[in-house]
């Protein structure tokens, strides 16, 4: 895929430094710098001291003001946040997020791979209906269901608990669609027929033949669902809002913001821990590290699966 892409892109592009090529490269680099400029500045804030950020020192984007003692101070403030009932609640939030993201991701895999296989390779009633419902659920923004999901979870008295969040995150129609495309394109039909003639049942064919050649699909579904779960905001906000200690990191960072003297002087007046921009930026930056790790791990699968993944974006 990538080689043919490079070839097709090269066609029509004369390989010399003409005006069009220079304009294109300058423009694309300019856009990239517009994207990078605030990002670099923001991550620099996470590594600066309170006084440095407040006094706007440190030169270009504050990069001259990076300070180890500033990082230590910020980290101590983040860890101390939470009070007596919920000590170092920031770590609890990270743990909660890891729990729902991993359990949700595993459930998504358990559901998506066999169903994607059945939808692509077998014939049964309502097959087309299930596929259409899956596609609809995939293209609709998942936040539209949050209030209905809250009403459902509230009806079984489970608001404030982590497990309903994890189960709901396991419903990942995009993963089903990815697996469906994978099994429609990647598995030779003769393999299936041969296994049938050998007398294997459908479930055994899936487990012993289809699954072992599906590392790519497993990696893609796991990656996309983990990232979606880790960054999900509205679902945990609605389902966990009543209990401080069971929130996930995205909702937790919102709590940090609302208790900062920068934005809410009155609410912050009574608390001993003052969270300014460096603390908030560090808490945010640390919360994105797991995303970075799974991205690096999944990268080689992502490049090959990019066109399939592109349907959802």
């Amino acid at each position: 895929m990538s080689t043919s892409t490079a070839q097709s892109a090269r066609i029509g592009t004369v390989r010399r430094w003409d005006a069009g090529r220079i304009t294109r490269i300058v423009f694309m680099t300019f856009v990239a710098l517009v994207f990078l400029y605030p990002l670099v500045g923001f991550f620099a804030v996470a590594l600066r001291s309170d006084a440095g950020v407040a006094g706007n020192t440190g030169g270009f984007l504050g990069l001259g003001g990076l300070s180890w003692s500033g990082i230590q101070h910020s980290w101590n403030a983040i860890i101390a946040y939470g009070g007596l009932d919920t000590p170092h609640v920031y770590l609890t939030w990270l743990g909660n997020t890891a729990f729902v993201a991993v359990v949700g991701g595993v459930l998504a895999l358990i559901a998506a791979l066999p169903s994607g296989y059945a939808l692509a390779r077998l014939q049964f009633r309502f097959q087309r209906l299930i596929l259409i419902v899956t596609l609809l659920a995939m293209v609709m923004p998942n936040t539209v269901l949050v209030i209905p999901l809250f009403l459902e979870v509230n009806a079984v008295n489970a608001v404030g608990e982590l497990w309903p969040v994890a189960i709901i995150m396991g419903f990942f129609p995009f993963g089903v669609y990815l697996s469906y495309i994978h099994f429609r394109t990647a598995m030779p039909h003769e393999l299936l027929e041969a296994a049938r003639i050998d007398g294997l049942g459908e479930v055994a064919i899936f487990l012993r033949i289809a699954l072992p050649i599906s590392k790519q699909a497993v990696a893609l579904v796991a990656f996309f669902s983990f990232v979606a779960n880790w960054t999900n905001f509205f679902l945990p906000l609605a389902l966990l809002t009543s209990s401080f200690g069971t929130q996930t990191i995205s909702v937790g960072i919102q709590s940090l913001i609302s208790s900062s003297p920068l934005f809410n002087p009155t609410a912050a007046a009574g608390t001993p821990i003052k969270l300014y921009m460096p603390e908030l930026a560090l808490a945010t930056a640390i919360s994105t590290i797991p995303l970075l790790i799974v991205f690096i791990v999944a990268q080689r699968f992502l490049i090959r699966g990019q066109t399939v993944g592109a349907v959802k974006g």
Partner: protein, 323 residues
């Protein structure tokens, strides 16, 4: 693209198989039993995460709303909850707010996505790949991290664009966000930075599916890079542009995180029910009026479902419509 180049095999009777084998009843029954076994975990999650909540919200939306005098009021209330949602003074305004964001954001978004995707596609090798990756980073960080990035950008006291903000006479983040007319522009900029990268990747995927022969033929006919992009590539990714426009439109209707959190950093100076989803959230969590909250979400589901149906059946990207 995989989705529209592979011949469809959805639905009964489309698969070509050796005649006779399929008609064999015991074998067929085994296939159906196996299929439902494999489908089982997903069906359970589909019910819990999709079908039951929608059905339940529909049911709740036809219940009576509790009142201050009767907080435990229940029973069939007909269309009362819908009437309550419709006549709420914030209802129409929340849709006007959404439109004021969409009208700024959507055209810029589509032009930027298509333009950058064409540029990335015209950039072979490492340079294009690195650019595409950089455009992708802000979207990959996720909603709350992105919001914090914007708090950093919009707070005049330490913003890297503080000179610009001071020139506009803005000295606090509250002023920046809450000055009349600023919010739709700020929300548009946030959505643009957040969504641009992943949609460039998507539309780029569409561009990659254009057969090499077509591009080669156009080159041989003497088309330069600009003509190739404008006359050949652009018409061939029309369906991808439509797909991007519709999905972003649906995304705009459910806007919640950005206005909700901006209101927090502006110490409550913004309307807390700026968008329809925020109004639904208000009904559920502040008003404790579940029927009205359910009615509100049924309305939003219907709007996004209508957009979703157009995408699935009319965009030409999913093979279900071939039947």
């Amino acid at each position: 693209m995989t989705t529209n180049t592979v011949p469809t095999r959805v639905g009964a009777g489309t698969t070509v198989r050796p005649p006779g084998r399929r008609a064999h009843p015991p074998m067929r029954r085994r296939e159906v039993a196996g299929a439902w076994t494999l489908m089982f975990p997903y069906i359970v999650l589909l019910l819990i995460g999709g079908i039951i909540p929608i059905g339940y919200a529909l049911w709740v939306s036809f219940q009576k709303s509790p009142t201050l005098l009767q907080p435990d009021l229940t029973g069939f209330g007909g269309l009362n909850a819908y009437a309550k949602a419709f006549t709420d003074f914030r209802f129409a305004q929340s849709f006007i707010d959404i439109f004021s964001v969409l009208i700024i954001w959507l055209p810029i978004m589509i032009i930027a996505v298509v333009g950058l995707a064409l540029l990335v596609h015209a950039s072979p090798g490492r340079f294009g790949a690195i650019m595409r990756f950089i455009y992708y980073i802000p979207g990959a960080l996720g909603g709350v991290a992105n919001l914090m990035l914007w708090v950093y950008l919009l707070n005049p006291s330490q913003s890297p664009i503080s000179g610009f903000l001071h020139a506009l006479g803005l000295t606090t983040i509250k002023q920046v966000v809450a000055t009349d007319g600023d919010l739709p522009v700020i929300l548009s900029a946030m959505l643009l930075l957040q969504g641009l990268g992943q949609w460039v990747v998507t539309v780029n995927g569409g561009l990659n599916s254009i057969p090499d022969e077509i591009l080669e033929a156009a080159s041989l006919d003497g088309a330069n890079a600009w003509q190739l992009a404008w006359r050949v590539k652009l018409p061939m990714i029309r369906q991808w542009i439509g797909y991007a426009a519709l999905l972003n439109l649906a995304y705009g209707f459910q806007l919640f995180l950005e206005p909700y959190l901006l209101n927090q950093v502006a110490s409550g100076a913004l309307p807390s029910e700026y968008t329809p989803t925020q109004l639904g959230y208000w009904f559920a969590f502040v008003g404790h009026d579940f029927p009205a909250a359910a009615a509100m979400s049924v309305i939003i589901v219907i709007i996004t479902l209508a957009i979703g149906l157009v995408v699935v059946f009319r965009s030409g990207l999913f093979s279900v419509e071939e039947h």
